[in-house]
């Protein structure tokens, strides 16, 4: 089974994300980056499937030159190969432009299953997986908390408010995985050294047959109009229990229509 994992390389979790006020994009230059912890879960799930069923795991990443460290992390975890979409013409793409580029790259790779995180942990749009499935013409199975493949059918437990739904689709398909699906392995020394020998194919927008109308700022249909901080949270209310604490809490919750 050939599995493609779409991943994003994001600023380290310990870095406070800064927004460029002019472009309203996340500042990535000069910022230490890593394989998105959400995407690492998709990589882990792909590796487990490949261990069980055989086949390859190919990472597909769109990002600048400094995305290499994050790509190598996935290769060190055990991914077979990687595809890096790196081209200044791709910078400033919106979610749809990103999806077009990823879809074009995936079409160049034989695949049975595409795995993605539900959303990235820097911009959190969650738009790309659905768009990608549409562009590839395959069914999307989303919010997977568990994933199995049996023959030509992929089945997931889809997280829902009340528990989970069991959903299946024939391969090829796209699955988005949730945070709780697994605990990713970490790269070992052997993995790090082995990753150096693994192939990272590089594509530009032109290699993918994409022009300024498809990707980059000119191709973007989304515009970020403003970026601001969330409103300050109102102060909490302290209820002192003088025999009627429970009643006061119940009244407070009832006032918020929570009970």
């Amino acid at each position: 089974m050939n599995i493609v994992v779409c991943a994003k390389i994001v600023p380290l979790a310990s870095v406070t994300i800064q927004i460029d006020p002019a472009t309203k994009r996340i500042i990535r230059t000069g910022v230490s980056q890593e394989l998105d912890p959400q995407a690492a879960k998709a990589v882990e799930e792909a590796l487990r499937l490949a261990d069980r069923h055989g086949g390859s795991v190919t990472l597909v990443v769109m990002g600048g030159e400094d995305a290499t460290v994050g790509i190598r992390s996935a290769l060190a975890m055990g991914a077979t190969a990687a595809v890096h979409l790196s081209d200044p013409a791709l910078a400033g793409s919106d979610a749809l432009g990103t999806s077009k580029a990823l879809a074009a790259a995936i079409r160049k790779t034989p695949f049975d299953l595409v795995l993605c995180a539900t959303e990235s942990s820097d911009s959190y749009t969650g738009l790309v997986p659905g768009q990608l499935a549409q562009l590839l013409g395959i069914p999307p199975l989303t919010f997977a908390t568990a994933l199995t493949v049996d023959g030509n059918v992929v089945t997931i437990k889809r997280q829902s408010e009340g528990g989970y739904d069991t959903v299946s689709a024939e391969l090829p398909a796209l699955v988005t995985v949730t945070t709780g699906i697994n605990e990713p392995r970490y790269p070992t020394l052997k993995g790090i050294m082995g990753a150096k020998k693994k192939e990272i194919r590089k594509y530009t927008a032109a290699d993918l047959g994409l022009g300024p109308g498809d990707v980059g700022p000119a191709g973007a249909r989304e515009r970020v109009l403003t970026v601001g901080r969330p409103p300050a949270r109102p102060p909490g209310r302290t209820i002192k229990d003088e025999g009627d604490g429970g009643k006061q809490i119940a009244e407070f919750l009832a006032g918020l229509k929570l009970v």
């Binding site: 230490s32 290499t68 190598r72 992390s73 060190a76 990713p184 970490y186 790269p187 020394l189 790090i192």
Partner: protein, 59 residues
């Protein structure tokens, strides 16, 4: 010496150490085998860094 390659290699090593610690910490009380393995993996990486065979890392 390719400074960028060295930077990337050391960053990969440090990220691996970080990931191993992050993987092990939640299991300090419930999975000693996992924690032991993570410690051994960290020790292995640190020994290679301390050896300082830069040419070997980048070979």
């Amino acid at each position: 010496m390719n400074a960028r390659a060295l930077d990337e290699h050391l960053e990969a090593m440090v990220l691996a150490l970080h990931a191993a610690v992050n993987r092990a910490m939640p299991h300090v009380k419930d999975d000693p085998a996992l924690v032991d393995q993570a410690l051994r993996d960290c020790e292995e990486i640190l020994e290679v860094i301390l050896d300082g065979d830069v040419a070997g890392w980048l070979a």
